[in-house]
């Protein structure tokens, strides 16, 4: 047998051609754990994909590496897509990866993070979009599975708080691939029913995978678009689902959701009662204030003796009127009155006035006033002056008063 040796390079090229002709190796998904991960400054990524038995050298060039939505790290479980070829210099086969996705538990967390960031950037979680819950909902929509603790808790807490509450349950799948579509459908149907004022959507607690339906983008959008407020109630105290972020209110459990949505009847009754008694007290206070004011006014003197004051005023008025009239009497008239008054007094002094009372004055021919009988002789003529007119008389006799004084 002739020895016709190939060069190392020739053999390597041969192997390379074999590998590159293989259909499977030209485009294959492979899963494993990242190790020796190095992101070179050039932008290329060099790493090893391994499992318990084997390892595979890999490279991802910059053009593909730049498109990755997450940052790969050693230890991560990933899915790689690419082709396998031979690196001639080392004579080693390696994978030329064009795409990489996180796999396993880390994958969900990463997808969740990516969806959350995207919806948040879009503004779907904006606090300003959150609507307040009604104080007393006419009818509450419940969207959850018909079996399990969630629906039981929702109904028992709701009816305990408010026995008169109206609940509308829309059963939905809360787990599995069909759950998001089922939840969305139920949400839309319930929201379209009359008198629905608020909707609780949720399920009991579970693993991250169990709750996965509530991290669905379409469901998140349906919740945001719902015409009535939505309360999320995914039974997991610590972790938030996308539904929690997008809902108008997040309750940590279905029981808590019922507490938040359904008012306590006794609390409402006591609120009404408090308002009522406060109102009565305040109204009494207003009336009392008015009464006191009225009392204070009534004690003023003007109201106590209204007539006294009136009479006083009347008197004063009369006085003023009189003074006014007096002041208006013309000066001349006043003086004439005064003159007349004086004239009257003069008259009273005049002897003539005496005549009017029946007295008479007797005078002799010379006009001398005769005061005694002896001043005249019998036969002498005298004149007697009366109040009206004069008499001429002849003395027929004279007589002297007996014992009369002689002058």
């Amino acid at each position: 047998m002739d020895r016709n040796p190939l060069s190392v390079h020739e053999l390597t090229l041969y192997i390379k051609r074999l590998v590159e002709r293989d259909e499977l190796l030209s485009g294959v998904w492979v899963k494993g754990e990242l190790s020796n991960f190095k992101a070179h400054t050039s932008g290329h990524m060099y790493f090893t994909l391994k499992d318990e038995q084997s390892q595979l050298k890999c490279v991802m060039f910059r053009s593909n590496a730049a498109k990755l939505a997450f940052r790969p790290e050693s230890g991560m479980q990933v899915l790689l897509f690419g082709s396998v070829s031979v690196y001639e210099r080392d004579g080693a086969y390696q994978m030329y990866a064009v795409d990489m996705e996180p796999a396993g538990k880390g994958a969900l967390a990463l997808q969740y993070e990516q969806l959350k960031n995207r919806l948040e950037a879009e503004g779907l979680f904006d606090q300003r979009l959150k609507r307040p819950l009604p104080l007393m909902p006419r009818r509450v929509g419940l969207i959850t599975a018909m079996t399990g603790a969630a629906i039981r808790d929702l109904i028992s807490v709701s009816t305990r708080r408010f026995p008169g509450i109206r609940l509308l349950v829309a059963p939905a799948l809360v787990q599995g691939a069909e759950a998001p579509a089922s939840l969305i459908r139920a949400l839309k149907l319930v929201a379209a029913q009359p008198a629905i004022d608020v909707i609780i959507i949720g399920r009991g607690g579970g693993s991250l995978e169990d709750l996965w339906a509530f991290n669905n983008e379409e469901l998140a959008r349906a919740i945001r678009a719902c015409p009535v407020p939505v309360v999320s109630a995914v039974g997991h105290e610590t972790d938030f689902t996308i539904a929690d972020f997008v809902a108008d209110l997040r309750a940590p459990t279905p029981s808590a959701a019922a507490e938040l949505v359904v008012p306590s009847r006794s609390e409402l009754v006591s609120r009404i009662t408090q308002f009522q008694s406060r109102m009565i007290t305040l109204t009494h206070r207003v009336i009392e204030q008015k009464r006191l004011r009225l009392k204070a006014l009534a004690q003023r003197p003007v109201l106590l003796r209204p007539q006294g004051r009136l009479l006083q005023d009347r008197q004063r008025l009369d006085e003023l009127v009189r003074r006014l009239q007096y002041s208006r009497t013309p000066l001349l008239k006043r003086n004439r009155q005064r003159l007349e008054g004086l004239a009257g007094r003069l008259d009273a002094l005049s002897p003539l006035a005496v005549l009017s009372r029946g007295y008479a004055i007797t005078r002799d021919a010379e006009g001398r006033v005769i005061r005694e009988a002896a001043a005249v002789t019998v036969g002498e003529q005298v004149k007697v002056m009366l109040h009206q007119g004069e008499l001429t008389c002849v003395v027929e006799a004279t007589s002297q008063p007996e014992g009369g004084e002689q002058k």
Partner: protein
């Protein structure tokens, strides 16, 4: 609450008005009435009118609480047909 003969007609009128509002509106308005009575420099007429309104609101709110009949219903969709049926609570 016995109202006696005190402003009966006006009270009836206030009741009729209050009956038209929802529980929520009634409670909010009642709170407002109390606040107005607390703060305002009110005339006697205004205070009494507010009181009457408040009494009517409290009545209608309480009645709405009393009248509410609990019901649990279930929505089912089959072949595009949506039905709502009452279920017995456990």
């Amino acid at each position: 609450m016995k109202q006696g003969t005190f402003f009966d007609d006006e009270q009836n009128e206030a009741d009729a008005k209050a009956n038209k509002v929802s529980f929520e509106e009634a409670l909010q308005r009642l709170e407002q009435v109390v606040r107005q009575l607390e703060n305002g420099e009110l005339s006697l007429e205004q205070a009494l009118a507010l009181f009457q309104e408040g009494v009517a609101l409290a009545r209608t709110a309480t009645r709405q609480l009393d009248d509410a009949e609990g019901r649990i219903e279930k929505l089912l969709e089959e072949n595009g047909q949506v039905t709502v049926t009452e279920v017995e609570p456990k």
